[in-house]
């Protein structure tokens, strides 16, 4: 058995256990900061191991490592590390200053890594549960906060339902193929010409369960409430790593085992992409709370990313991967700014609270403007290239309707992104925001630079994404 294949996961899990023990032993001191730093260290170490890890299939076809898995794992690890960094500055004010917080973030990220490497429906489910369970807890982590508790409970109940759907779909697929291993399912499917009804229902149920985790329409209802209620660093994390991992699963399952029945599910994914894009841009317009706005914006972004999958080609998958990379950068950056929105020691989340930020805090306002322009898809920022690649793939796959809807909805979406910029730079200034800790400035500057200079790394990123997409179709 080639157990070293999962070395990054094993090391990360052991680090998690060690940090947990460290936190418990240190209880009398203030272990939060030390544990957070150790967690970031563990993420960096694991990322290094991921880059070094060899290709292969191990653990009796349960675990797959290829360039696709590595790409997704690096993204998830980056999401986890950035979310931990976002927490450090305001942990006490957010009432999450307990050492379990970084440990749970670590285990959630571990779950997303397992999802990216799944070679079997069972790995898929257990990885998904590990990552989701930790997030349910993180949502309700500030336990005296009614909204946080509501967010945690709501996400837990609906998430369990989605897991149930996913499991039911897996059971139907297993009933058809007699195996849960991706390779064997693919072989079984390639032998049949007509797709039996039971299998089709199974695939649809699995798609429903996975798109719930993506918060794509029509499984998006939980998103605004949970995003608003959860502590902001948790929201930043939720919008990053778990969605990337859910995409990893979706791409791997749909392109791999179900690749032979692509015409059956492609139309479904296309429909989900269209309604997500349209709903995401229309429903965000009347929002006054910036966290809710980000929730609707993330629904829209998932629609664009799904566009690449519905093309069903290697090019489309590459587009989706690049899109997710850019989304991670600008999303974390935007959330760093949202966390920094505090006035007289209280968090403010209204869009109106940003008024006049351009005069009171030009640095922060510029960073936010960069992220908003990037999300709207203005060239030459990162978001533009992600959108460009998925549109290009959709047009090459002759999905003209899909591409047209994408263009129209991104124009509509630009309205509310630009409105934020207008509020920041042209509205009457209100009281200035509190001084922000260094970690937030660091993250927002880092993400801002990455968003602006994405053109420089576009080549390497799209080469890596190309290799990852090729691995999917091998």
């Amino acid at each position: 058995m080639n157990w070293t294949l999962a070395l990054p996961e094993i090391v990360l899990a052991l680090c998690g256990l060690a940090i947990l023990v460290f936190g418990v032993v240190q209880k009398k001191g203030q272990p939060f900061l030390a544990c957070s730093m150790l967690t970031i260290g563990a993420f960096v170490l694991t990322a290094f191991l991921v880059v070094m890890s060899p290709d292969g299939i191990g653990y009796n076809h349960i675990f797959v490592n290829d360039s696709f898995a590595r790409f997704m794992k690096i993204l998830s690890l980056a999401g986890g590390a950035l979310a931990t960094m976002l927490t450090v500055g305001y942990a006490r004010e957010l009432k999450v200053e307990r050492f379990e917080f970084p440990v749970l973030l670590l285990f959630s990220t571990l779950g997303t890594m397992m999802m990216a490497s799944s070679g079997n429906l069972m790995t898929l489910f257990i990885g998904l549960e590990l990552s989701s369970l930790a997030i349910y807890i993180l949502c309700a982590f500030a336990r005296d906060d009614v909204r946080g508790a509501e967010a945690g409970l709501k996400y837990f109940v609906l998430g369990s339902l989605a897991s149930g759907l996913l499991l039911y779909g897996s059971a139907l697929v297993y009933g058809f193929a007699g195996t849960m291993e991706y390779g064997a399912i693919q072989t079984a499917l390639s032998a049949t010409s007509a797709v039996p009804m039971g299998l089709m229902i199974g695939i649809v149920f699995m798609l429903a369960g996975l798109t719930f985790k993506l918060s794509a329409v029509p499984f998006h209802m939980w998103t605004p409430d949970v995003y608003q209620g959860a502590p902001t660093p948790v929201t930043a994390f939720m919008a990053g790593a778990p969605k990337i991992a859910a995409f990893a699963l979706l791409l791997r399952v749909m392109a791999g085992p179900f690749g032979h029945v692509a015409p059956q599910w492609q139309i479904l994914v296309e429909a989900i992409a269209i309604v997500s894009m349209v709903f995401g841009s229309l429903a965000a317009i009347p929002q006054t709370d910036i966290k809710r706005l980000m929730a609707y914006s993330s629904i829209g972004h998932m629609g664009y990313a799904l566009m690449g999958l519905s093309a069903g080609t290697e090019e489309g998958m590459r587009g989706t991967l690049v899109y997710l990379t850019t989304y991670l950068l600008m999303n974390v950056g935007a959330f760093a700014v949202i966390i920094a929105m505090r006035r007289k020691g209280r968090a403010v989340t209204g869009i109106a609270d940003l008024a006049g930020l351009g005069r009171t805090d030009p640095g922060l306002a510029t960073a936010m403007a960069i992220f908003m322009f990037s999300m709207a898809g203005a060239p030459p920022l990162a978001g533009f290239f992600g959108k460009l690649m998925v549109f290009y793939a959709a047009i090459n796959a002759h999905l003209f309707g899909l591409a047209a809807v994408g263009v129209v909805s991104s124009v509509i979406g630009a309205y509310y992104y630009v409105r934020i910029i207008k509020v920041m730079f042209f509205d009457e200034a209100t009281a200035p925001l509190d001084r922000r800790p260094l970690s937030l400035s660091f993250v927002s500057v880092g993400m801002g630079v990455a968003t602006v200079g994405f053109l420089v790394v576009l080549g390497p990123v799209s080469t890596a994404a190309q290799a990852a997409a090729q691995a999917l179709f091998r």
């Binding site: 947990l20 257990i126 590990l130 369970l133 009933g175 058809f176 007699g178 195996t179 009804m197």
Partner: protein, 252 residues
């Protein structure tokens, strides 16, 4: 023939008790019927030759889940009558959803089809003569070790969650300093007096206990104890001295 009779007995009781779970007015009765249903399902597994699943069902569902239900039903003040109020109104809607689901299931299973070469799919085959529990054990720790350990992590996360979300430091709680409690001896809590004959205890100050023996083992900050019970400067006699040195930092 015998197996069939056993099957029908278990199956009938299972279906009837499952129905009663839903229809019983008293929630405690519901839980008890749920336990009966679990036992009968376990019986069905036994008939099918899956003794491991049968035992797991009894241990996990009856032993843990159903008992937990019972606790919750009895401890929480859940107003079941109030919860039932909407029943009349939502019943038609619920029935419609149920019917649609039933129709979909019928559609899925009426034309059920398996893959053509399903027989050639590699399966784990139990060694001849192994019971099904032993065979499960064989693969669980070898083939599926990765998944097994991952499940362990899922349970760990659940445990961390339960602690994080519910454990509160209670300043009014009476907690013990376990080390001190273990180290304390008779002399710490009991003063031996020699009482002259005929004078009685009262003449010697009544019953006496060293003052600190009441709280010597409690953690500072817990109920009624403001500072460390064994102050820094005060010499402590006997085995306690050791403990006091170790925990002097607790006073903060």
């Amino acid at each position: 023939m015998m197996t069939q009779i056993v099957f029908y007995v278990f199956a009938t009781v299972l279906v009837l008790s499952a129905g009663t779970v839903v229809s019983a007015r008293n929630p405690v009765h519901s839980v008890l019927f749920l336990i009966l249903a679990f036992f009968n399902a376990a019986g069905l597994f036994l008939v099918a030759g899956a003794e491991f699943l049968a035992m797991i069902l009894v241990i996990v569902y009856v032993g843990a889940v159903a008992v937990l239900f019972l606790f919750v039903v009895m401890m929480l003040d859940v107003r079941f009558a109030q919860m039932r109020e909407g029943l009349q109104r939502y019943a038609p809607f619920g029935a419609a959803v149920g019917l649609v689901l039933l129709a979909e299931l019928a559609l899925a299973f009426s034309h059920w089809q398996v893959a053509q070469d399903i027989g050639s799919v590699p399966h784990v085959v139990a060694a001849p003569g192994r019971t099904n529990t032993a065979a499960l054990g064989d693969v669980l720790y070898t083939h599926y070790i990765f998944l097994f350990e991952s499940c362990g992590l899922v349970l760990l996360v659940a445990m961390i969650g339960a602690i994080v979300l519910t454990l509160r430091e209670r300043p009014m709680g009476r907690r013990q300093n376990i080390d001190r409690q273990h180290e304390r001896t008779v002399t710490d809590t009991l003063a031996m007096m020699t009482v002259p004959l005929g004078q009685g205890v009262a003449a010697n100050g009544g019953f006496r206990r060293p003052e600190e023996s009441y709280y010597i083992a409690s953690v500072p900050g817990s109920y009624g104890v403001t500072a460390d019970p064994v102050p820094q400067g005060k010499p402590v006699e006997g085995p306690l001295k050791h403990g006091a040195d170790n925990h002097g930092g607790l006073a903060q």
